[in-house]
């Protein structure tokens, strides 16, 4: 059971990371494009942190793709990475905890 909880935690973290990273990956996201609600709620530090972490990460990924001489828009590959990570993480988390058939039930048929 413990290993499943660990896999679930890693899966959820990967899913969240990939999901939040998506806008920075492909759409040249900036802090100004984040929802205005963050400003209203005085959460600018959160916006700064998100922009700093994910903006830099996406740029690093793009640089890595440049080194590999990737053909096409680099941002699309980074987006594929982000969505792939999110899907994989989410699926692993569900697989680790989302089953109710751990023990098979066997019914002995009564013959007439």
């Amino acid at each position: 059971m413990a290993i499943r909880v660990v896999i679930m935690a890693i899966g959820i973290a990967a899913c969240l990371y990939g999901s939040i990273m998506m806008p920075w990956a492909e759409m040249n996201m900036t802090k100004e494009n984040l929802p205005h609600t963050l400003t209203l709620l005085r959460l600018e530090p959160v916006a700064d942190a998100l922009d700093s972490v994910f903006g830099q990460t996406a740029e690093a990924h793009k640089a890595s793709l440049d080194a590999k001489e990737a053909e096409g828009n680099r941002g699309e590959y980074v987006y594929a990475f982000a969505i792939g990570l999110a899907i994989l993480g989410g699926a692993l988390a569900v697989a680790a905890i989302g089953s109710a058939d751990e023990q098979e039930k066997m019914l002995m048929p009564e013959k007439k």
């Binding site: 990924h61 699309e76 590959y77 987006y79 990475f81 990570l85 989302g98 013959k111």
Partner: protein, 381 residues
């Protein structure tokens, strides 16, 4: 019955996956269904690519951005939103399909599920694999870069060595006596036409199975899609050069070992080695079930006096080995079960399905089996 070492290896691996992902999401239980899911991914991504692909080699107006196969692929990759990702997904899904089919074959082989009544599945599976390999190879011709030209020339050379029909086959392949615009049309026709023919092949593959598992659970599909997208990022599409028909030199090229290994064999061993590898390899895989299929099976037997014609056994049989026929004159019931012994695997599912003790395995009586199960369940609890 003795369990082989390989069967034990698979059982231990299955058990490990069950511990981590539970039996509901164990990918090893869907090894036959995974290639089918990948096929849907290939169909969908292929449809998107097909919308913009132009199957010609004419490059007279390339300076004006007028299109041929190569420039249309460039356009898809560089100008269509997510074109590069869709192209990469199409390519790596093809590789994943080969991997999934080979894993499916290996597991079926080592768990002894290819013998006797399953020979149809084995042989049709090999035909499907060969079709998939050829479809993948034609996909590499369609890009019409330098590698496509080398592959086309190697294929024509190999076909022309076949006695009597070789030259004709070469002309069929090129859709003429030399490479022309019609050649790419032929490649596209083979690539797409053969892909749809896979569906007919799959029908034959499933025809003797009552309930084939053809759809993995969504979670397994998501894992596969996630992995595919990560591979797309890790190994992005790279730029290549357009094929030049005037070039007579054979340059080196990257080999995708999933699809292009026959070309690697051809380059390493020459024409004789290539044909020996292809013919002997194919025959060996096709003939595997024959010497190994001689294990006698005691087919289930119906006790006619007890059968009520309820059809439970017929519906439960995984191999369509039980047919319901009209009961003989004088019977109280309309139907009676009959066993097609050549399809029966002796699995005993029908014995469990029958509520009237009307079907038995000759050497494994129902009462003995029930008693043994009761003993085992008591011992476990």
């Amino acid at each position: 019955m003795e369990t082989s070492v390989w069967t034990k290896v698979f059982l231990v691996t299955e058990d490990l996956f069950n511990k981590i992902a539970t039996s509901k999401y164990n990918p090893l239980y869907y090894h036959g269904a995974l290639p089918q899911f990948i096929m849907y991914v290939l169909f969908l991504s292929g449809l998107l690519l097909f919308a913009y692909y132009v199957p010609t080699i004419d490059n007279a107006y390339v300076s004006k951005n007028l299109v041929n196969a190569f420039t249309s692929v460039k356009y898809i990759t560089n100008d269509i939103p997510f074109g590069a990702v869709v192209r990469a997904v199409h390519r790596y899904a093809g590789d994943a399909m080969v991997v999934a089919i080979v894993l499916h074959m290996v597991r079926v082989w080592f768990t002894d599920r290819y013998r006797q009544y399953r020979w149809v599945q084995w042989e049709s599976g090999i035909v499907l694999l060969i079709m998939v390999l050829f479809i993948g190879q034609t996909g590499y011709y369609l890009i019409w870069d330098e590698r496509s030209l080398i592959l086309t020339r190697m294929t024509v050379s190999a076909l022309e060595t076949i006695p009597v029909i070789g030259v004709g086959l070469g002309h069929w392949f090129l859709n003429g006596r030399a490479i022309s615009n019609l050649t790419l049309s032929n490649f596209l026709f083979i690539h797409i036409g053969l892909s749809f023919t896979l569906l007919f092949g799959l029908w034959i593959h499933y025809v003797r199975m009552t309930r084939p598992v053809i759809t993995p659970p969504p979670v397994v599909n998501y894992v596969l899609m996630g992995l595919l997208l990560l591979v797309v990022y890790l190994f992005p599409i790279t730029a290549t050069k357009m094929a030049d028909l005037q070039s007579l030199t054979t340059n080196s090229m990257d080999i995708d070992l999933f699809f292009l290994f026959p070309y690697w064999v051809l380059s390493q061993t020459g024409m004789f080695g290539f044909w020996a590898f292809t013919i002997i390899g194919t025959l060996a895989v096709c003939l595997i079930p024959l010497p190994m299929g001689a294990k006698p099976i005691e087919a289930a037997e119906v006790v006619n006096t007890k059968c009520t014609g309820c059809t439970f056994c017929s519906r439960d049989c995984p191999y369509q080995a039980i047919e319901m026929v009209p009961a003989p004159a004088g019977s109280r019931f309309k139907l009676i079960a009959t066993v097609k012994s050549y399809r029966c695997s002796g699995c005993g599912v029908c014995v469990g399905a029958c509520a009237f003790d009307a079907i038995d395995l000759p050497n494994l009586l129902d009462t003995d089996v029930t008693e043994k199960i009761k003993q085992l369940s008591k011992a476990q609890s």
